[in-house]
C-alpha cells in the first residue's frame, strides 16, 4: 500500500499496466519528456522508451484515429487528450468510429482502447479548461464512460479499462488530482467497471454523484448529519456507461428521497437519466420529487466559477429540501 494522490495513482496505474503488458502504449500531446501537463505520464518515456510513451502532433483527431488503428491491430493504446475541452476535434473518431467499430463489422474489428482526459472546473480555467462533457459521450452506444473519484479507484478502474475489450473514455477529475490522497495497493488490481461505490451508508436521503463532486457531497452529508441528523446514502456512480442500473434503483428505494449532483450543465445532463430511471422504475417508493444540483445551462465562466460549480451548501440545501418535502 502506498499513500498516493489521484494523479500519482493514475501514473502508478499506467506504469503497472505497461509493465504487465507490452502491448500497452501511451501517447498524446506533451506526455513524453514533459510527462504531461499534469504529470500523469511522468517517467513513462524514461522507463518504457519512446516507442511506448510518446508525443504526437497537435491533433486530437489524429490521436484518437490512430489509437483506433493500433487497437484493431493488437496494441492496447491509452491516448491522452490534454483537456477534455479539446476532445471535440476527435468527436467523430470517438462517436462514429471507435464506438461503432464492433457493431458495424459484426465483431470482426474492435477497438479496445482507453482515452484518458482531465475534466471539470475549479482550476481557474475558464470556458475551455473546465468543462464536464460526459453527457455527450454517455449518449454514445458502444463507448464506456468511467470517472473515478479516489486514488484507489483511479488506479483500479484504469487497469480495468485498459483490460476491457471495448473503448473506454476515462475522465479524470482534475480538481482532485492533488487534493485527495488515499491508500493505493501496489501492483495489479482492478475495480470492476459498471459497479457503484457506496461512499457512505444512510437511510434518509440518497445522493448520487461522481468525480469531483464526491468530496463536495461528502462534506454536505456531514453537515446534514451534524445540523439536522439527516443520514445520507452517498453513491459514487464511477461508471456512467454502462451503468449499474439495478444498484441505482436499489439505492433510491432505500431512502425514497433522491438528490443527483454533477457539475456539468443540467439540461440533458447525466442527472436527467438518473431521474428518469427512478421515475420509470420506482416512483412508488419516492417520498419527494428528485432534486438535481448541477452547473448552470451556460458556458463555464472564469472569474465567477465558484458560483457556477455546485458547492456543499447548494447540495445541503437540496438534501434538506427533499428531506423536508
Amino acid at each position: 500500500m502506498a499513500n498516493l494522490t489521484l494523479i500519482q495513482a493514475v501514473n502508478d496505474g499506467l506504469k503497472t499496466a505497461m509493465r504487465a503488458d507490452e502491448s500497452v502504449v501511451m501517447f498524446g500531446e506533451d506526455v513524453g519528456p514533459k510527462g504531461g501537463v499534469f504529470l500523469a505520464t511522468e517517467g513513462l518515456t524514461a522507463e518504457f522508451g519512446k516507442g511506448r510513451c510518446f508525443d504526437t502532433p497537435l491533433s486530437e483527431d489524429g490521436i484518437i484515429g490512430t489509437a483506433i488503428g493500433m487497437a484493431m491491430n493488437g496494441l492496447r493504446p491509452v491516448a491522452e487528450i490534454q483537456f477534455q475541452d479539446f476532445i471535440f476535434p476527435a468527436f467523430d473518431q470517438i462517436v462514429s468510429e471507435a464506438a461503432k467499430l464492433r457493431y458495424r463489422s459484426g465483431g470482426q474489428y474492435t477497438a479496445p482502447m482507453v482515452i484518458r482526459t482531465p475534466y471539470g472546473g475549479g482550476i481557474r480555467g475558464g470556458l475551455y479548461h473546465s468543462q464536464s462533457g460526459e453527457a455527450y459521450f454517455a449518449h454514445t452506444a458502444g463507448l464506456k464512460v468511467v470517472i473515478p473519484s479516489t486514488p484507489h479507484d483511479a488506479k483500479g478502474l484504469l487497469l480495468a479499462s485498459i483490460q476491457d475489450p471495448d473503448p473506454v473514455l476515462f475522465m479524470e477529475p482534475k480538481a482532485l488530482y492533488r487534493s485527495v490522497k488515499g491508500e493505493v495497493p501496489e501492483g495489479e488490481y482492478t475495480v470492476d467497471l459498471s459497479t457503484l461505490r457506496t461512499v457512505r451508508e444512510g437511510r434518509d436521503v440518497t445522493v448520487y454523484c461522481y468525480g469531483a463532486m464526491v468530496p463536495v457531497v461528502e462534506k454536505a452529508a456531514a453537515q446534514a448529519k451534524e445540523q439536522r441528523g439527516i443520514d445520507c446514502l452517498i453513491i459514487d456512480l464511477r461508471t456512467l456507461l454502462p451503468l449499474d442500473e439495478e444498484g441505482v434503483i436499489e439505492a433510491a428505494k432505500q431512502t425514497g428521497r433522491v438528490v443527483v449532483v454533477h457539475e456539468a450543465p443540467r439540461f440533458c445532463g447525466y442527472g436527467a437519466e438518473i431521474s428518469a430511471m427512478i421515475a420509470e422504475r420506482c416512483i412508488e417508493y419516492m417520498e419527494a420529487p428528485v432534486k438535481r444540483v448541477t452547473g448552470f445551462d451556460t458556458p463555464f465562466p472564469n472569474t465567477l466559477e465558484h458560483h457556477y460549480l455546485p458547492d456543499e451548501r447548494r447540495v445541503l440545501d437540496a438534501i434538506e429540501a427533499v428531506y423536508d418535502f
Binding site: 519528456p33 502532433p57 491533433s59 479539446f86 475558464g126 470556458l127 448552470f296 472564469n302 472569474t303 465567477l304
Partner: protein
C-alpha cells in the same frame, strides 16, 4: 527550408536604399511596442507568481514577429490572433489597461471575466478577434470573414496567426484549402517558435519547414526571419498586397524562438536543450531592431532608459487599476448565452441571485437580478 527573407542583418544594417515605408516615429513606435510587450510579460509574471492572476503567456523572443506583422496592417484589416499575440494588439493602440482587465477577468473586461487570461477580444481600434483556446479553430473563421470582405469588394485583409503546433489541427487544413480555392484575402502567419508546449518542430511535422505546406494547397508561401521585425513586415506587406488585389492567400512562416516557457505554468528546462536557448539568445529580436535604429541615429541610451521606464510604468499602472476593479456581476454568468435570455437560464440566474443574497455574498453591483 525555402529561402529565408531577412532585411536587418545581425549588425543592424540593411541593404543600400532600403525603405521600410515607415516614418521615424513609426519605427520608434515599433520599438516601443516591443518594449511594452516585454514590460507586460514581466509584470504578468509577477502578478501570476504572487497569485493575483491565474495565468499568463510569455512572449519573450517573438516580439518582432508580432509587431512586424501588425505594422503591415491597416486599421480596417482584421487580426485573428493566437493567445501569444500581445504585440499585435498593443501596436494598434489597444490600451494595456484593456488587456489587464482581461488578465484579471474583472467587470471591465470586454469578455466579462468569462475567459482565462490572455484570451482577449477587441473590435476597436482594430478587429482583434475573440481568442478561443482550442488550437486552430480560428483559421476557417478568418477565411469566412475574408470571403465576406471579398464579396463586398472591400480591400480588407484578414491576418490569421497561429503556432507551429496549429498546423497539425483540422482547422489548418480546412482553412488553407478553402482560402486557396476561394482566393480569399487571407494572410496565414505561422509563428514557428520551435515548440508546441514541449513538442519540438521536428516531431510536429516531417516536412521541410512549414511554409512549404502551402504548395499542396496551391498557395504561395514565404519563409521569413521572425526575429527581424522589418522582414516580417515586408512579408506581410507583400502578402497583403496580393490579397488586396484579389490574388488570394499566402502562407508566411516566421522562424523564431519562444525564449520562455509555454505559459507561467510550464518549466521549459525539462525539455528544451540549453544549447538551443543559448543559440537563440544571440538573436534577440529587440536588440536586432535596436541596432537598426542606432544605425539610423534614432536610438540613444537615454531614449532606451526613458522608454523602458515609461512602458513599465504604463503596464504597472494598468495592472494596479485593473486590480481595483470589481468582479463581474453575477448576471454575467447568464447573459450573452443567447441574444435573449431563455426562461430556463433566467430561472437559474434568479436562483443563484437569491442564494447569494441569502448568503450575503452578492457582489457589490449586484442589485436586482437584471435579466
Amino acid at each position: 527550408m525555402t529561402d529565408m527573407l531577412t532585411v536587418i542583418s545581425s549588425t543592424g544594417a540593411t541593404k543600400k536604399g532600403y525603405d521600410a515605408g515607415l516614418s521615424d516615429e513609426e519605427l520608434l513606435h515599433c520599438y516601443r511596442t516591443m518594449l511594452l510587450v516585454r514590460s507586460f510579460d514581466e509584470i504578468c509574471l509577477k502578478l501570476q507568481r504572487s497569485g493575483r492572476i491565474g495565468f499568463s503567456i510569455p512572449n519573450l523572443g517573438i516580439e518582432a514577429t508580432q509587431v512586424g506583422a501588425a505594422s503591415a496592417l491597416r486599421k480596417t484589416d482584421w487580426i485573428f490572433p493566437s493567445y501569444r499575440d500581445f504585440g499585435m494588439a498593443l501596436y494598434h493602440g489597444i490600451p494595456a489597461l484593456e488587456m489587464m482587465h482581461n488578465m484579471f477577468g474583472n467587470a471591465e473586461d470586454a469578455a466579462k471575466g468569462r475567459q482565462m487570461p490572455v484570451h482577449f477580444s477587441f473590435v476597436d481600434p482594430i478587429h482583434f478577434y475573440s481568442i478561443s483556446s482550442p488550437i486552430g479553430t480560428h483559421l476557417p473563421h478568418a477565411v469566412g470573414a475574408a470571403y465576406a470582405s471579398q464579396l463586398r469588394q472591400e480591400d480588407t485583409v484578414h491576418l490569421v496567426s497561429f503556432g507551429d503546433g496549429g498546423t497539425s489541427s483540422c482547422g489548418f487544413h480546412s482553412g488553407m484549402n478553402f482560402a486557396a480555392v476561394w482566393k480569399a484575402p487571407v494572410v496565414f502567419l505561422c509563428q514557428n517558435n520551435g515548440y508546441a508546449i514541449s513538442c519540438p518542430s521536428d516531431e510536429q511535422t516531417a516536412s521541410d519547414g512549414y511554409a512549404i505546406k502551402a504548395e499542396a494547397y496551391g498557395m504561395p508561401h514565404q519563409t521569413v526571419d521572425g526575429n527581424d521585425l522589418l522582414a516580417v513586415r515586408q512579408a506581410v506587406l507583400d502578402a497583403s498586397e496580393r490579397a488586396r488585389k484579389g490574388e488570394g492567400p499566402t502562407l508566411i512562416e516566421a522562424v523564431t524562438f519562444r525564449m520562455g516557457g509555454h505559459s507561467t505554468s510550464d518549466d521549459p528546462t525539462k525539455y528544451v536543450p540549453k544549447e538551443i536557448v543559448d543559440k537563440w539568445k544571440k538573436k534577440d529580436p529587440v536588440e536586432r531592431f535596436r541596432k537598426f535604429l542606432e544605425k539610423r541615429k534614432l536610438w540613444t541610451q537615454k531614449l532606451e532608459d526613458q522608454m523602458r521606464k515609461e512602458t513599465l510604468a504604463e503596464v504597472d499602472a494598468a495592472a494596479k487599476a485593473a486590480q481595483k476593479v470589481a468582479k463581474p456581476g453575477l448576471e454575467t454568468i447568464f447573459s450573452d448565452v443567447y441574444a435573449e435570455v431563455p426562461a430556463h437560464i433566467r430561472q437559474q440566474g434568479e436562483f443563484l441571485f437569491d442564494l447569494s443574497k441569502r448568503r450575503g455574498e452578492a457582489d457589490a453591483g449586484d442589485g436586482e437580478f437584471p435579466l
